[in-house]
Symmetry: C2
């Protein structure tokens, strides 16, 4: 539903193209390497071999039509900066660029990138969190809050009791969001009786959930 | 609190080292490039210039002591495979390896990697989701469930009413997890009156939250 330009078809750029196409966007993909262009050609609407630091080439492929452009060039900092600058000059509203380091990011922001991304750095941080807190792969942290949400199995003491009897929120410092019983998901009420085999989706603070999940 | 070996100190490997050290782990970092070793040397406990396909070198730096090893080598598929194999031979329980593509990933799994990661591919997919659903940067999806969780501002019709009066769950198809009022976060009760300026953390299905968040 949007026209999106992806410049740089390495692993990051190609994954971006595939997901954007799956979400029904029109994708124009550009790379100066013929091989990378060919790798993605069957996936996107338009795949062109071109140098993204060449304004003429970008104009020719219809870059001006794009509502969003992502400069997914990796190692080549100069090309990443020049391409970002050209795309802003072409009037593209939303130009997102990939940065290699903090200084590169600063330059990209200054020349008009609306957002700067650090794929390898972000994933390195994410993997570190998963390794240190294996239970976190089951829990999602709510952005901007200390709360985590995830599915738990009932403790033995819970089985056969209602949520009201358990005084769940007070006893466990966790809010019940919904329950999954034999594949059926529903929002339980105060008089719902917990059964072994239930899966309860809860929200709570990390330290409260951690004690629960330690297996 | 754990001894963790990181092989390959590109952007992914270095970010991993920094986060692991922040989480109080002991990190041994290895790369064959002197420059990359020097970049991380002040951060980690031990930083060594060595070829990770050299078992002698790995033994010398105490690789056997590691409970977890991450092979964060990028473009060099052969080195990534050989290093992973050697680390398994050294008896390291949990060896995580980075893959360039599906076939590489298959080989890594076969030779014993307990987990394979695709940093650029994962971030490409994530960025695509954010671009298509800008509201999703405010909402987290609960793993393995269709529910999303995030913070909303009260609709005008909600102000001055209690949660009970609003019959919140039924009217809005969303569960209230907690509220943030002037920086104070608390779990509201049925008789809590909603005020303009409140921030309400809710959970619900994507399609129900979407209509809410469209700005
Ligand atoms: N001036 C340019 N014009 C068009 N494409 C370019 C230009 N410079 C680099 N690229 C392309 O950008 C892509 C990604 O850059 P590069 O391979 O340096 O980074 P990378 O970090 O290895 O990428 P990834 O991690 O996404 O695989 C490459 O396919 C490369 O051909
Ligand atoms: N045999 C090896 N022994 C030790 N280190 C190695 C070996 N082969 C490659 N490396 C290191 O692995 C690191 C990451 O690999 P490379 O630079 O090829 O991938 P990358 O995809 O560009 O990395 P990143 O995206 O994390 O920046 C490099 O610092 C490189 O020196």
């Amino acid at each position: 539903n949007k026209v999106i330009l992806v410049v740089g078809l390495g692993r990051f750029g190609q994954a971006l193209c595939k997901s954007l196409v799956e979400q029904k966007n029109q994708v124009i993909a550009i790379d100066r390497s013929r091989q990378h262009v060919e790798e993605i050609a069957t996936v996107v609407d338009i795949a062109i071999q071109a140098d993204a630091t060449d304004m003429e080439a970008l104009l020719k492929v219809g870059a001006k039509e794009a509502e969003i452009a992502i400069v997914a060039i990796g190692g080549n900092i100069e090309a990443s900066i020049l391409a970002t600058s050209i795309l802003k000059d072409l009037g593209i509203q939303n130009v997102i660029a990939r940065a290699q380091n903090a200084i590169h990011a600063r330059v990209l922001a200054r020349i008009g990138a609306s957002r700067v991304v650090f794929p390898e750095k972000d994933m390195g941080e994410r993997l570190a969190m998963l390794l240190v807190n294996p239970w976190m792969s089951h829990f999602a942290q709510l952005p901007g809050s200390p709360f985590h949400v995830g599915e738990i199995r009932p403790l033995p003491e819970m089985e056969g009791k209602t949520l009201a009897e358990l005084d769940f929120r007070t006893q466990y410092n966790a809010v019940v969001l919904n329950m999954n019983r034999s594949g059926e998901r529903f929002i339980p009420r105060a008089d719902t009786v917990i059964e072994a085999g239930d899966r309860i989706l809860v929200a709570g603070l990390k330290e409260d959930l951690e004690t629960w999940v330690v297996e």
